[in-house]
Symmetry: C2
Subunit: 119 residues, 2 copies
Amino acid sequence: MSSARARRLTHTDLDKVSLQAALEALADPVRRSIVRQLAASPDWARACGMFDLGVTKATISHHFSVLRNAGLIEQRDEGQRRLNRLRSEEFERRFPGLLRLVVEDNRTGKPTSGDEPGE
Amino acid sequence: MSSARARRLTHTDLDKVSLQAALEALADPVRRSIVRQLAASPDWARACGMFDLGVTKATISHHFSVLRNAGLIEQRDEGQRRLNRLRSEEFERRFPGLLRLVVEDNRTGKPTSGDEPGE
DNA sequence: TGACATGTTCGATGGCGATCATACACTATT
DNA sequence: AATAGTGTATGATCGCCATCGAACATGTCA
């Protein structure tokens, strides 16, 4: 008796996730921010709207979809909210070490300087 | 007495490479193919032209530049050729586990024909 | 029922990056 | 010097993706 909403939630088998998809998912700074914030919270503690990101809810929804398809998160509906958890163990088994790099990364954005061509 | 050509070769301090830059560099299938082929060869064994990629030399040159700026490869001029090596240890220290994921990945992401020579 | 809250879907837009062809630069050889 | 080999720089094109606003769907509560 899943709700009509939850029925649309399909989660990915990690064995079917390509390295390409994983890297593309994590190459976006907004998505890495989501992953880091999830890693800092207990499972199912945060709904999609409760993230500190600088984009609209439409964009947020898009990013969550990408993360879900890449096997990085699991989602569950609870009332009006869609709760999230990081699929840490499963993702770690499929891509050892990768999640740790993202979670422990302190520098958020682009590099500071100096790698421009020319010079 | 470096040549005029080699003088333009600037290599990156791995501490200055952001995770963002590393992931962006490795998110491209052509660049991952270069990395894999480099990992399968001894250091300095392969010049830029000696890679089995489906793109023109201008594009190849661009990809090598990206890999160099991301701290993934080191380049050295030898006569007319520009030889390459993978900065395995340094990159591993900076991003533990990441290079291994790329090197040991069998699926190429795009099911094109055999993009890797040998196996 | 209506009002509100939370997310998704849709269509459009803007920017960035991968790619190419061409021209250029450097090296080695003759 | 002339030529051939190798890689880079430049300018243009094209496609994709992050982003947005608006409309829609779903769920809760008065």
